[in-house]
Subunit: 218 residues, 2 copies
């Protein structure tokens, strides 16, 4: 093992630092997902990360600080996942369906996300507002686009906004209702159909579409 400096087995200090920080972040996400923010104590988080209590404060100024970081980081992953999954769809309804399904497939991957998201409204309100703003913004663009293309009824923005709220509320709530005690989502196909039917009959215009744009949240 000749002169390896720092290229091989050993890790540089900053690499290790990043790893430790990530470990703390991941541990926090899991612990919050399992026990909720209230019972996500520093003790639990550091134990799960195999670190001492004090180490936490080498990476985060306070417990609240890591709480505030959870949703932004994981929310961005969620958006990326949804965009990716829905990228192939052409029509409004296809995009909507694929985004809808992607939300639930994301929850399968990250079972702890739903609780983090829901409780953030109370325990990380600023982060929650920001996340919500991102989501609704993307959705509004998507709907305006579909409207422009004549794919959906020609509603004013004042009507689009509550609609967006309804659709987002629906996702979150269905996820909650169809998640079992172990945190596993299992959305029945009937629920997807019902959702799409409501949209199709309630929103779709009969005019021929003009062109395709991006998906919701896209």
């Amino acid at each position: 093992m000749a002169a390896m400096g720092r290229t091989a087995g050993k890790k540089t200090r900053v690499q290790r630092s990043e790893e430790v920080r990530d470990a703390l972040f991941q541990a926090a996400a899991e612990v919050v997902g399992e026990y909720g923010y209230i019972d996500a104590s520093i003790t639990r988080i550091t134990q799960r990360a195999n670190l001492a209590q004090g180490t936490f404060y080498n990476y985060f100024a306070s417990r609240q600080e890591i709480f505030d970081e959870l949703l932004p980081v994981l929310g961005a992953k969620m958006l990326a996942h949804i965009r990716q999954q829905a990228s192939g769809a052409k029509t409004f309804l296809e995009k909507e369906e694929q985004s809808f399904r992607a939300f639930f497939s994301f929850l399968k991957r990250m079972p702890y996300f739903l609780r983090i998201l829901n409780e953030a409204e109370i325990f990380a309100p600023k982060a929650h507002r920001q996340h919500f703003h991102n989501i609704t913004g993307g959705y509004m663009r998507f709907l305006r686009n579909a409207r422009k293309n004549g794919e959906i009824a020609n509603l004013g923005d004042e009507a689009l906004e509550p609609l967006v709220y309804m659709l987002i509320a629906t996702r979150g709530y269905l996820a909650l209702r169809y998640t079992d005690e172990n945190g596993v989502v299992n959305l029945p196909e009937e629920a997807v159909r019902m959702y799409l039917q409501l949209l199709a009959k309630g929103l779709l215009s009969r005019e021929p579409p003009v062109s395709a744009g991006s998906g919701p949240l896209g």
Copy 2:
């Protein structure tokens, strides 16, 4: 003021007891509505009720106990209000609209209810599950009835369930979004219209209705 025994000015012990208990309950509701369960300390609650800390424990075994009582009691009031308001409606859509509006008019009366309801999912989960069960149960009956009368599309129960979740989610979420920082709801008429349009186009059948039943939650 001759021989009044206990009929006039003075109050009997049990009367006083009830009053004190009610004062604590009311104070707790207000404090939770204003500050949330987390910051609803015994100190705050008893101060608002003009009582000493210790008095609290003459009426409730623990802080959690009063938390667990909040939603059942207020939830029952909400249901009563909604039923009362929607009692005059005849058709499915009328009932739905009046119940929908009644939910929001209830929030105007009891601004603290929304926060109690929402946070209960975290801080009084059992009570929240029970409340939710009441609500969905009533709603399901309402929809089955409308289906039986041919007022809405002939959907199976497996489709009705997610639909109920969607409608309930919608109410809660819209309330949240259209409540200002002072806790005052202000639902734009556009939102009501959008909600009803989605139902009307998405659900209503074109068959003639057969007869009328009870409203949602009724």
